[in-house]
Amino acid sequence: MNQMNNFTKGFFKENPIFVLLLGMCPTLGVTSSAINGLGMGLATTFVLVMANIVVSMVKNIIPEKVRIPSFIVIIAAFVTVVELLMQAYLPALFKSLGLFIPLIVVNCIVLGRAEAFASKNDVLSSAVDGASMGLGFSLALTMLGTIREFLGSGMMFGIKIFPEDYGMLLFVLAPGAFIALGYLIALINRIRKV
């Protein structure tokens, strides 16, 4: 039950993007399409979960004081792993996410830092926490990606919904990212209030 709560909090109550407003750069940068958003989100989730697991596994070995440096190293290592794997097996996605893959490091340091502090957590809850944050992040990215893709090019996950001529190009470009996210957050705020 507790784990369940732990898990769901990232989706709504403590969604890193809508509520905590963290990791805005990839949120805006990679969401020109739903697939990109999802891909980025899952990559982040993978790194976060793995890093959390490893950190909590080694928490007794690593002294408290070098926790942060080690955490950075571990996260960076996993990001590199993801980078390599993607490059090998998902070259197209890798290409479109571009710069933002390495930036997962920064993001995960941000998202995961609480974990580094809360050394009290066991492996399972760390993993759950990571997954929760990561999936919440993915959810937000996918939502934004879908909206932008739909408004911008009339597609959803690459499937045509209405003819391309009716797409509002702006939404796949930089300004559209800001504007769409702005109204999305406003909407979520509104829903959360009720």
């Binding site: 004081k65 070098v66 942060i68 440096p69 080690s70 950075i72 190293v73 502090f117």
Partner: protein, 308 residues
């Protein structure tokens, strides 16, 4: 070969960087008392400033740093919240009596005839800086609702019929914002009594009786009748005005009966048993001080009995 380079260079960079980071972590021990977070979580998170701090987090920091909690109180969370904070910090909570805002003016449109009409910016502060007000009573409510604007908790509303603000007891957290906002000093934070019952002099008019009575039919005229009848010495007289000390008042309601102008208000009491020769005053047209009449489905009946 690459793998050797990898290991060597990465270990070198990594270790160097990590050592620096380690030193940094030492030097700048991000000296975040984890209890601050805990305390913050225990707080309501209204960020209203009612506690006197910049926000809930600032308050949490002060709680953690303080040696005792006697000067620290979150009016929004109230005692429960402070006990929680005290638990986290292993300190004694200082229990404060819950309070609620009370508007001490009773002169609605029907009781206080207008002598002129105001046409400036709709703000009590502006009106007060200009003159004494739209009615003959220079102490009374100006009805522009600065208090309503000041309240972050949606706890005070203007009654369009009387033109007087009304506090919704359940929502009011006694943050005091309205007290500061009122240029006529009409609002007071009074001790909360069981079932939200209250008795108070709903008037601030310091004019002599005749003058006061002329400008407002429900003004306190300073006749001292309540003062004499109070068995608990809870009432003091000053400047032609009676004041009921909430700490001493035992809610016996003797004064209410005595007041010739109905300046004393009783709220949330069960209906009085109609005394044979004392029929209740015709329809409660004077005092309509209701505690959230629309929403509170509480058992405490909203009743306003002005009995002679």
């Amino acid at each position: 070969m690459t793998i050797v380079y990898t290991i060597v260079s990465l270990s070198a960079i990594g270790t160097l960087a990590a050592v620096i980071l380690y030193f940094v972590a030492q030097k700048f021990k991000v000296y975040e008392d984890p209890r601050i977070d805990d305390v913050e979580k225990a707080l309501p998170g209204a960020n209203c400033g009612g506690c006197g701090f910049a926000g809930c987090r600032a308050f949490a920091e002060s709680c953690v740093k303080a040696s005792d909690l006697s000067d620290l109180f979150c009016p929004v969370g109230g005692n429960d919240c402070m006990t929680g904070v005290a638990d986290i910090l292993g300190m004694e909570a200082v229990v404060q009596t819950p309070k609620v805002a009370v508007v001490r003016c009773n002169g609605g449109c029907d009781q206080r005839p207008k002598t002129n009409q105001f046409d400036g910016a709709s703000s009590c502060a502006v009106a007060a800086s200009l003159y004494s007000g739209e009615t003959g009573c220079q102490y009374g409510c100006l009805s522009h609702g600065d208090c309503v604007t000041a309240c972050d908790f949606d706890a005070i509303h203007m009654n369009p019929e009387t033109g007087l603000p009304e506090v919704i007891d359940d929502k009011c957290v006694a943050c005091g914002a309205c007290v500061d906002a009122c240029p006529k000093n009409l609002i007071e934070l009074r001790k909360k009594a069981p079932k939200d019952r209250k008795i108070y002099v709903s008037c601030r008019n310091e004019d002599k009786g005749g003058v006061a009575k002329k400008s407002c039919s429900v003004a306190c005229i300073g006749c001292s009748k309540c003062f004499k009848v109070c068995p608990f010495d809870a009432i003091t007289m000053a400047n032609n005005l009676a004041y009921i000390d909430a700490d001493k008042c035992k809610l016996c309601r003797k004064c209410v009966v005595e007041c010739p102008t109905n300046a004393i208000v009783e709220l949330n009491f069960p209906p009085r048993k109609p005394k044979t020769d004392l029929p209740p005053k015709p329809a409660a047209k004077t005092v309509e001080k209701a505690a959230a009449p629309k929403e509170s489905a509480t058992d405490s009946q909203t009743e306003n009995n002005e009995t002679k």
